[in-house]
Symmetry: C2
Subunit: 317 residues, 2 copies
């Protein structure tokens, strides 16, 4: 009999087909598990697969008395109550680095699209305004990449890849992180100092209680009226209300966002703005990154059912 | 009395103000010169400033019997009839490399925006389709940058900068150029071979008779159904009708274009497509690149009126 895996989030059909080759899936498709399956069925569940940002606290874990492994698809695990998991001896795994390049690339895409105003530019061509030589204040030239100061917040695998890409654009790169890393970029001891220095802030820090609303009204104001913020981490790292206010009041020039406070919802005040580029959390959304993340998740599940430690376990400090 | 400069193309007011500090400007604002100024006035003109892509043949030069210098704003000079200019002993100058980083950056912006489908993504968020979990075939995952084969057509200053940036994205980079260069990228002896190999073709070659419609239906077909073409050179390098057909018939996956056959017009068949990203010839359109290009043009004009050779003369083979 195949080992059972509870699917806690909603995942694509093609991905589920691959997992179904190895395990018996109890697929909730993102609905509350107790609404989809009987408590008998849930009582048998020893492992579950989840999107790491989805809330998974003590109450949810209580639904699965035999739960031994929580496997997160992707790098993040901020939705998982790690303390409760540890207290109940539940192993927690994720896919570290599997999507780092793909996420770094969406950060670059959002930064370039926002600073070069590619949405406005595309619309200017498509609408016929270009052909009509219609004046467009939004199309005024902006500062380019050479010499631009890019601040990277967080120097994990994604942050490093963002920094390396920015350096190739002839930009200056600085960073803030809890600790100094062996990287060829200028270190700033506080996020405030980094924000004072840079004109683009790339948010690549791990989400959690420590970084909740770390990018607040004060940090945004420090970026200045030519400043941009790009977030590919989690919505929780930015105070979204403060961001909307800063963008609306033109305290900063623009933003590129792949993540939001309450996904899949982006606030209406944000979606009405012309100076933002918005993506629906597609950072890790490339063919090879999905394959790599699936490989990690399958390896974690396989090891768990074989009684071995998870090869890609979440490392808690 | 200030030296007179005929302004042959339409340029921004702020730029004209800077030139007016040094010269007396006869500004056509892009209209036919003989409609704006008397033939007496035109008869005095010894130097003109033009956008290098704007047609400037023997007939137009005949309007200015005393013409001694044609100064192109930007790198390109494909609109200028160099043979006639040489026969009439007219010096031709441009702004080599001044906008290379800015143009390379728009190439990267267009490539990333097209391959990661950022226009569709932004619309998916803004429309509320994401919040409604509406299926979107256009949002299916695509291949990312690591391991992608990027073909750069032309290895001048812009081509080199594109190649260096792509390498930082962990992509493989190949190129075709009239001759092999001392660069760490794979050389292909023909454009056909490059197109067979790559999945993104970056058009960065100098425009001219030799490269007119070099990217034709055959080259596009070789890119394949997962292939993209990005053009930041001149519209004339691509057979635009063949491109529209290839995009419409899905012989290739998409395109990112900053230049068109007949600017400022983009064909309606192109502006109706969802799998293209269109920019209104803004490659060199950054603050620092405008300043650098203006510096070159001012230096060329100043040298000419002082009886010296142009410091940024067009080098003809």
């Amino acid at each position: 009999m195949a080992d059972k895996v509870l699917i806690y989030s909603r995942f694509p059909k093609t991905m589920m087909a691959r997992f179904a080759e190895r395990f018996e899936l109890l697929d909730t498709a993102g609905k509350p598990a107790q609404e989809v399956f009987s408590s008998d069925k849930l009582g048998d569940v020893r492992a579950l697969l989840t999107g790491g940002g989805r809330p998974l606290g003590a109450g949810a874990m209580d639904l699965f008395p035999k739960l031994g492994a929580i496997v997160c698809y992707g790098t993040g695990y901020d939705g998982v109550d790690l303390k409760t998991a540890a207290a109940r001896n539940i192993a927690v795994g994720h896919s570290p680095g599997a999507n780092a390049a793909s996420v770094a690339d969406i950060a670059m895409t959002l930064m370039l699209a926002a600073t070069r105003r590619i949405l406005v530019a595309d619309q200017y061509v498509r609408s016929g305004d270009w052909a009509a030589s219609k004046p467009s204040p939004m199309m005024r030239p902006q500062a380019g990449m050479p010499g631009r100061r890019i601040g990277v917040y967080g120097m994990g695998e994604v942050g490093r890849k963002i920094a390396a890409r920015c350096a190739a654009f002839e930009s200056e790169v600085g960073y803030f992180s809890r600790s100094r890393h062996d990287v060829p970029y200028q270190y700033f001891p506080t996020l405030e100092a980094l924000a004072d220095w840079c004109s683009v802030l790339m948010v690549a820090v791990r989400a959690g209680a420590e970084t909740h609303h770390a990018v607040n009204a004060d940090i945004l104001k420090r970026l200045g009226e030519d400043g941009y913020v790009v977030n590919i981490s989690r919505g929780s790292v930015i105070d979204e209300k403060a961001l909307v206010a800063a963008l609306t009041d033109k305290l900063i020039a623009g933003a590129g966002l792949d993540v939001y406070a309450k996904e899949p919802h982006a606030p209406g005040a944000l979606t009405a703005l012309p100076n933002v580029v918005l993506a629906p959390h597609i950072g890790g959304h490339t063919l090879e990154s999905h394959v790599a993340m699936q490989d990690c998740a399958l390896a974690n599940l396989t090891a768990f059912f074989a009684g071995r430690p998870l090869p890609y376990a979440v490392k808690t400090a």
